[in-house]
């Protein structure tokens, strides 16, 4: 296998959607309607992901993230363009592709609801034909990363959301896939569970060199896990680079806060590529006495928000 876990070249996906009409009359008319419109969910996206990378795949709701993931997993066929996962076309070799990928959808579980977790693990072991020795090694690795003893014999339906998500992530890595897709894995979890899940993902990625494609709306996940992020909006890729570059993407902004003599805070957003912070402080000092200074980096969340709102494009 080559060095790329995933390659996408000029991938597009169009959907045909029936134009629905309003009201009862409209609904009846829709029964016989041939009035379709084409919606482009993904437009000309190219992307290369190397082995062992963790990619943050971001975008506002409805940007085309899920559609892309479905194409990568082989569930959907692209309208045009080429996708290679582990060097193979996913929708043509669906079963084979499935043996080499793992998936977690934060809002659904692939585990067997009424059975204890360990039974789901055994079933997945047999479904993916994992040799017993490798299976045991994997369980040992899990033990070293998280405390799985309390959940191993617990039926899945009795688990808390956090325990269930944790279990689902473990289940997705069980057959040691080359790529794991995590779709909003930390949705609805508390702070400490989020932290646990992040360190688990990081640990598994490090130990097994698994490529991870992570979609999330939680910038904490991105900050903790991803070095590189890809942002799509309206089906188009608008950013693909390191997380550090992101902050300089539309000027290197920092927030300067000054406490003045009358104990009020003055706040200003400064673009360092245009204005020198020291100069600002000096000018201010000439007017009023400064008692305290705070300098804040702009957070990933704020940058992403600006990008989603279209300020950067």
């Amino acid at each position: 296998m080559g060095n790329e876990a995933l390659v996408m070249n000029n991938v597009c996906k169009d959907f045909k959607v029936l134009n629905r009409h309003e009201g009862l009359k409209g609904s009846i008319r829709d029964l016989f309607s041939r009035d379709y419109k084409t919606v482009s969910a993904v437009k000309d996206v190219s992307l290369t992901v190397g082995r062992g990378e963790i990619i943050g795949y971001l975008g506002p709701n409805g940007a085309g993230k899920s559609t892309t993931i479905k194409m990568m997993t082989g569930v959907l066929e692209p309208t045009s363009g080429e996708i290679l996962v582990n060097g193979k076309v996913p929708y043509k070799n669906r079963t084979e592709n499935c043996e080499n990928i793992g998936v977690v959808f934060g809002q659904r579980s692939q585990l067997w609801w009424s059975l204890p977790l360990v039974e789901s693990f055994k079933l997945l072991r047999d479904l993916y034909m994992v040799p017993q020795k490798e299976y045991e090694q994997m369980i040992d690795l899990y033990r070293s990363l998280v405390d799985i003893e309390p959940i191993l014999n617990k039926p899945v339906r009795q688990m808390s959301l956090g325990q269930r998500t944790l279990s689902d992530i473990l289940a997705a890595f069980l057959h040691n896939p080359a790529i794991v897709f995590l779709d909003e894995p930390t949705i609805g979890l508390d702070v400490s569970m989020k932290d646990k899940i992040r360190s688990l993902i990081k640990g598994l990625n490090k130990e097994k060199n698994t490529t991870v494609i992570l979609t999330t709306h939680d910038m904490g996940d991105v900050d903790a896990l991803c070095r590189r992020i890809v942002i799509i909006d309206h089906g188009q890729k608008i950013y693909d680079n390191d997380i550090e570059h992101l902050k300089n993407y539309f000027g290197s902004y920092r927030t300067l806060q000054l406490r003045l003599a009358d104990d009020t805070w003055e706040e200003m957003l400064i673009d360092e590529s245009e204005t020198d912070i020291m100069e600002v402080i000096m000018t201010k000092q000439k007017e009023k006495k400064i008692k305290d200074i705070r300098l804040q980096e702009i957070s990933t969340e704020e940058v992403i928000k600006k990008i989603y709102e279209g300020e950067a494009v």
């Binding site: 997993t73 959907l76 998936v103 079933l123 047999d126």
Partner: protein, 269 residues
């Protein structure tokens, strides 16, 4: 296909259905009520006809047939259509599509475990009770073996019918109506609610060649050794009909599914 994968699914299915033992008990109870109703209905039919034998079947014959048909129905009943429509609406189907085997194979073997449990917990007890009550009206011999084989074929045919209807539901995005129509057709034309011997001749001729009969009527005919099924000449056409329908329905089902699955858009996410 590796048997390890398939049997793992059967095993999990058995464990899951044993988990819902109260559900099984309720099914048995509902059955009992239904059978009481059937008993009095047919008793009235025979009483009003004024003769002992109607269409070549005595009252006892009819009762044995219907009781076994009902328990066979409970054992063979599948919920592929319901389950699939639910998992399409919730978007869970994507997780099943991403299992490392063909969706059909995965679905069939996922259900297999619960059929094993139902066979042991509902069909076998009913059969034993009928045997004791009728005091040897059913002969035991090689016919039991042929019956089990015919039942496995029946299960596969039933699964194929379910899958075809479930695939159809991918397009309609609504299931209820279609499924009711399917259930009514299957129940009537398979001989599960009225013995086929009671059908008018022209309908009987048509029904004899349809797949529905192969689900309930053929296994029961073999078990009760009717229509010469105690000989090879009688057995072979029965199995032949089942195998032909398995082949036809499987090919149609696979083609229809492969064509449809490329078009589906999984909801949500």
């Amino acid at each position: 296909m590796n048997p390890r994968k398939l049997l793992a699914l059967t095993r999990a299915g058995i464990m899951e259905s044993l988990h819902y033992r109260l559900g099984t008990a309720v099914t048995l109870f509902a059955n009992l009520i239904y059978l009481v109703l059937v008993y009095f209905l047919w008793k009235a039919i025979y009483a009003s006809s004024g003769v002992d034998t109607v269409n070549g079947m005595t009252f006892t014959d009819t009762m044995i047939y219907l009781i076994l048909a009902t328990s066979l129905f409970n054992f063979l009943e599948m919920f592929v259509v319901w389950d699939m429509s639910r998992s399409i609406q919730s978007g869970k189907i994507i997780l099943d599509l991403l299992k490392p085997m063909k969706f059909r194979t995965y679905t069939f073997w996922s259900y297999s475990g619960s059929h094993v449990v139902l066979f042991v917990l509902t069909f076998i007890p009913t059969f034993i009770v009928v045997m004791i009550v009728t005091n040897g009206a059913i002969q035991l011999g090689l016919n039991l073996l042929w019956f089990v084989l015919a039942t496995v074929f029946a299960l596969i045919i039933n699964f194929n019918i379910e899958m075809l209807v479930a695939t159809l539901c991918l397009y309609t995005e609504s299931t209820w109506g279609i499924n009711i129509v399917k259930e009514t057709i299957v129940l009537l034309l398979s001989g599960a609610s009225i013995p086929l011997a009671f059908f008018p001749d022209w309908l009987r001729t048509v029904v004899d060649y349809l797949p529905f009969r192969a689900v309930y009527d053929i296994p029961l005919t073999i078990l009760l050794q009717k229509n010469g099924t105690d000989t090879w000449q009688g057995l072979l056409p029965m199995f032949g009909l089942q195998i032909i329908w398995i082949a036809v329905l499987s090919v149609a089902g696979i083609l229809f599914w492969n064509h449809s699955v490329r078009k589906i858009t999984v909801n949500g996410g």
